[in-house]
Symmetry: C2
Subunit: 299 residues, 2 copies
Amino acid sequence: MRYGGIEAGGTKWVCAVADRPAELLETETFPTTAPGETVSRAIRFFTKNGPVGALGVGAFGPVDIRPASPTWGTITTTPKPGWADTDLAAALRSGLGVPIALDTDVNAAALGEWRHGAAAGLDTFCYITVGTGIGGGAVAGGRIVHGLLHPEFGHMRIPHDRARDPFGGICPFHGDCLEGLASGEAIRQRWGQAGQQLPGREPWELEARYLALALVNVICLLSPQRIIVGGGVAKQPALLPLVRGQVRDLLAGYLRASELTDPDAIERYIVPPGLGDCSGAIGAIELAQGAAAAGAPGG
Amino acid sequence: MRYGGIEAGGTKWVCAVADRPAELLETETFPTTAPGETVSRAIRFFTKNGPVGALGVGAFGPVDIRPASPTWGTITTTPKPGWADTDLAAALRSGLGVPIALDTDVNAAALGEWRHGAAAGLDTFCYITVGTGIGGGAVAGGRIVHGLLHPEFGHMRIPHDRARDPFGGICPFHGDCLEGLASGEAIRQRWGQAGQQLPGREPWELEARYLALALVNVICLLSPQRIIVGGGVAKQPALLPLVRGQVRDLLAGYLRASELTDPDAIERYIVPPGLGDCSGAIGAIELAQGAAAAGAPGG
């Protein structure tokens, strides 16, 4: 069977088809515009490159992924214009008529990295994306974490030193939560230009500080065996080395594991994605494969 | 078989024996003094009320609970005088000669609440204790979270408004981490007296603020279906209602679940332990039962 996968991010969508999850046959990437237009473009891709027998979707959120919920498949409270209360699963289902499996974009990326990338063989780890927004997915004890809704790493609260950084944060719900302070959009608004164009070390040292505080919280709450940091902002070469150093400093030797104290070992603990930009799409194909096997809703 | 359980906390130990986990036959509670004295007292209890066929221990930490580790069973970096690098499992084993199962005190309490208390029927939830120190245990997807080491909720970083609260925090490793700001010992040092004796609302509003920030982070990272808050500080009747209100305010409607937005529903979401002060001991008995079934080390 051919499977379809969508990494349905808030900034761009990546559509892919594959017969086996880790071998993408065709992919297409396009910006996330209005819901109708974006979904139509995805349906055209799968019609052209299909037919697909099942579709996996890793969606930006918050998104209702509770299987028993009457609003399953709906993007809920996103500040993204036009997308709040969009029934994404219904729109895709009406266009394709195949079983659909749905999770968050970051849980899908975690799944891809788990099966084929930097988290192979682990049972407890996190995938964090630092791009236009910030999100995180987690696997604990060999299972993707869902719980009440799904993790929303980007909205944790971290210390904000207003003397060093008077910028108030951009989150329309929380102001200076992690995403409000450290997302790509926060960088752009604070400094007046996108991260790629920023000169000097100060912006990256501040960014590393916020991300390190966030990773310390992830380590204290989930005790991951590895943390994968993806997304466009994380591609800045200076960033991850600064983050690793700050994490070590912030933990101050309290947690006795070489991964958290040794400068060499932490390089293998806080890592970029093993699948590059394909973690989400490959994870979505994995979801599709699961949907086909289980006979998920939508067919 | 008769089982023994110890909630080996940093302030007090609770020893218990039972034939069935939820029916404690005898218990004894005593302060955590020097390691040798404390362990001897526990061994006397089990000798008098036994013999027990297996022992479960929920220990304060950080504690090495990795099954394959050469230092399994050892309390590691605790600032508690005399306890750093104490091989707790070896000391108990040499005194009792029975299989021992070990987890953190808060994971044991979570286990007790899961099987017999306020988390019955859930698959993803947290147990947090706010006492002399602060700790947290978690179950995700039906499994106790261990990961690299084990969760250490007390050492997450939260915003610290130094204008409102110039107190620097008491954690010897991190200063103003959660435990540094909001533990019972932090309350005592900030206000010059223990929480039970504090007049007025201000100390409790500040405490509720810190705990609410912590719970928001727990919600954003783990998405628990319920949060159980135990420990001596949490017994202050005014506290949990203030925490619930602050959690709602801080989340600001971003996560759309009645448990997080509805004033009645959140009363059933952030709750005291269903087993009162026995969560840890009952969870430790559950651990003992597992050890007996699995033939854990120590016999």
